[in-house]
């Protein structure tokens, strides 16, 4: 009996959706990826960065010389020396190994502060932009205070106050990057907030946090993310600057900025060798900037 009723039900209410395969459009990130792959500049940059990241992460597994043991006899050997592809530094340590190991700290100091600042700044900015009113004034005016100082000066001041060390330079760099990210997040959120789909979501009676999560965050994330990506190169340069000044990483730990500082004295003996850590900083930040540019255009949904 029940089976006959079931067939009747199906006949009485044919549902075309169930019969046709739904023409589900490809997801947003799928489209972004497809557009990014078609951009040769971004792909080259992404490739170089992936290579660097891979080398840096798996450095202990690679057949590299010990970056800490030097030799007084083989100091400042030029590039191409037997056994030292990129020569040796002022204490006779293998440059190639030190550049790879140095990349670990430099990249960490480039990426982590931006990642932390991205999380904190997005929360603050979205809060300020969505709620508005006095909360917006309070957050944004506080943030404005930090804009009174150039970022390098701010980083030096905070690092100086906290004392030298990796963790402290991480903290100081995070504080440096929160204000600009907050500001970008606030302005994007304020413009999304005024769009009618946010109003429509509000009159569905959804909790404000749900409205923010579903309708605001997804639409403000990409510009903030792209902006944060472009900050990683700045962060790397600032971290290198802090180490150069003796506020960040301490010797003998390899770090590009610190290496640049110590090799500075050898600039008249072998300028190419002395420029190597600088070249690494330059290449990495160039790749990061170009990639974030590519990401920006790939994320533009209207194209």
């Amino acid at each position: 009996m029940s089976t006959t009723i079931d067939t009747k039900t199906v006949k009485a209410n044919p549902r075309p959706a169930a019969e046709e395969a739904p023409a589900k459009s490809k997801g947003y990130w799928h489209g972004v990826g497809a557009r990014l792959i078609r951009d040769p500049v971004s792909m080259i940059c992404a490739g170089l960065l992936a290579l660097l990241l891979g080398a840096v992460v798996f450095a202990p597994l690679l057949p590299l010389a010990d970056p800490f043991t030097g030799s007084m006899v083989s100091r400042l050997k030029p590039i191409g020396t037997e056994g030292h592809i990129l020569g040796t530094d002022e204490l006779g340590r293998d440059m190639f190994a030190r550049l790879i190991y140095g990349g670990r700290l430099t990249l960490m100091l480039g990426l982590l502060p931006v990642a932390f600042a991205f999380a904190i700044g997005t929360c603050l900015g979205v809060l300020a932009g969505y709620v508005g009113g006095w909360l917006n004034t309070a957050i944004m005016r506080t943030v404005d205070v930090f804009f009174a100082f150039p970022s390098i000066l701010l980083a030096i001041a905070i690092s100086g106050a906290l004392g030298a060390g990796i963790v402290n330079s991480l903290v100081s760099l995070t504080i440096v990057f929160i204000p600009p990210i907050t500001r970008v997040a606030e302005s994007v959120t304020a413009s999304v907030r005024s769009l009618e789909y946010v109003d429509a979501a509000r009159i569905s009676g959804a909790h404000p946090l749900t409205v923010v999560r579903v309708h605001v965050l997804g639409n403000v994330m990409s510009p903030i993310f792209v902006y944060a990506t472009s900050l990683t190169s700045v962060s790397m340069i600032l971290a290198a600057g802090l180490s150069f000044l003796g506020l960040g990483v301490k010797p003998p730990e390899p770090e590009w900025g610190l290496m640049l500082n110590t090799l500075r004295t050898a600039i008249y003996i072998d300028p190419v060798l002395a420029a190597l850590p600088g070249a690494m900083i330059f290449l990495t930040s160039l790749c990061l900037n170009l990639l974030s540019d590519g990401l920006r255009s790939a994320m533009n949904i209207k194209d």
């Binding site: 009723i5 959706a17 023409a23 769009l195 009159i203 009676g205």
Partner: protein, 366 residues
């Protein structure tokens, strides 16, 4: 056998069974009573954001919306139509006045969340009113899900509503807003508002951005849906012909105030307020020999920050007299028509205007 019958129940019935905000006041109780609504936007100045002055977007608007009718609101841009719409759904806060929804006063007997159980809105900009990162199925299902409908049921409801507004769910459910045309997007917006099972739908310039043939299709769809779902509409538009087609009553607004309200036929024929007459005269004629040679009104509406004294229309009114700038006109009945009212000194026998019934009487006595 109940299963078989359940499958045959139209969407309307399913929707109504689940409606929380059911009819309570009965047919005689107006669905909405708006009493002296005021909405002033502060204009802030200086370092400390002090309130320097205010834009009087809506300044003392009163009207009712009967159950099952369509109230059309017309007026120039900047007259407060859209702000009135946003006040009705509670998207903009009231500065003063009462909003009574089916006998319950907003803020006292009725929370905003409860108001949204009964009132939904269709916005003008079909693109900005759809989240570009959600498929249209997700957009429609979002509201019901927020009310606790299981996601499978919400998805089925969204498919049924898509079908009902003329978009095959198999083809459209998984699409993103930028993959649809303007008319299709506006159908999605309508389906989204219906998914919330409202009793009142505010349509704020809902068809204005569509081209004429699509506009006609969407208008007819709205008429059908209104009967099918037993809806009440507040229809805002600057297109008088569209408002005439769809409305039972018309409300004319000028500079944040109601100048005339009444049944569509009566307002159309009598045009009791000079502003209504000017507004209707501004409509392009379909007859090429009957061109509008003289502009019915000159200039822009005055600044709502500092509106004119007395009757707000007196700065542009061809019949303005001293009484018009001195005293605010009372809302008086336009004779000969049930429920037709206008705010003009010329219609008020005791206002002292020379063209009013009283004034004419005085002239005759002299």
């Amino acid at each position: 056998m109940t299963d078989t019958r359940d499958a045959d129940i139209p969407i309307r019935r399913k929707v109504q069974e689940k409606t929380k905000a059911a009819d309570r006041g009965g047919p005689a109780q107006p669905l909405v009573i708006a009493r002296d609504l005021k909405c002033h936007f502060p204009v802030r100045k200086g370092v400390f954001n002090r309130k320097a002055t205010a834009v009087r977007a809506v300044d003392g608007v009163s009207f009712t919306v009967e159950k099952g009718e369509t109230l059309g609101i017309v007026g120039e841009s900047g007259c407060g139509k859209s702000t009135t719409a946003r006040l009705l759904v509670g998207l903009t806060g009231l500065n003063a006045g009462d909003l009574i929804f089916d006998g319950d006063r907003l803020g006292e007997d009725l929370s905003l969340k409860e108001l949204w159980d009964g009132v939904q809105m269709v916005f003008q900009d079909s693109y900005a009113s759809l989240n570009p990162r959600l498929t249209i199925e997700e957009t429609i299902a979002f509201g019901p899900k927020m009310r606790g409908v299981a996601s499978g049921a919400a998805r089925r409801l969204s498919h049924e509503l898509l079908e009902r507004v003329g978009l095959a769910p198999g083809r459209f459910a998984g699409r993103y807003p930028h993959e649809l045309s303007g008319g299709q997007r506006q159908r999605v917006n309508i389906a989204r508002s219906l998914a919330m099972k409202p009793r009142l739908v505010i349509l704020d310039e809902a068809v204005s951005a569509l081209d004429k043939s699509v506009e006609a299709q969407v208008l007819n769809l709205l008429k059908e849906l209104k009967d099918e779902f037993g809806l009440t509409f507040v229809f805002i538009s600057h297109d008088l012909n569209v408002v005439r087609y769809i409305s039972d009553r018309i409300m004319v607004m000028y500079l944040g105030e109601v100048v005339e309200i009444g049944p569509v036929g009566s307002v159309w024929d009598k045009r009791a307020h000079p502003y209504t007459a000017a507004l209707f005269a501004a409509m392009p004629s379909m007859d090429p020999d009957n061109r509008t040679e003289v502009p019915p009104l000159l200039g822009d509406p005055p600044n709502p920050i500092d509106p004119p004294s007395g009757c707000r229309f007196h700065t542009r009114c061809p019949f303005a007299e001293s009484v018009c700038s001195a005293a605010k006109p009372k809302i008086v009945a336009v004779d000969g028509a049930q429920g037709h009212e206008a705010a003009c000194h010329m219609l008020d026998p005791v206002s002292g205007h020379s063209k009013s019934a009283g004034g004419a009487h005085l002239e005759a006595a002299e």
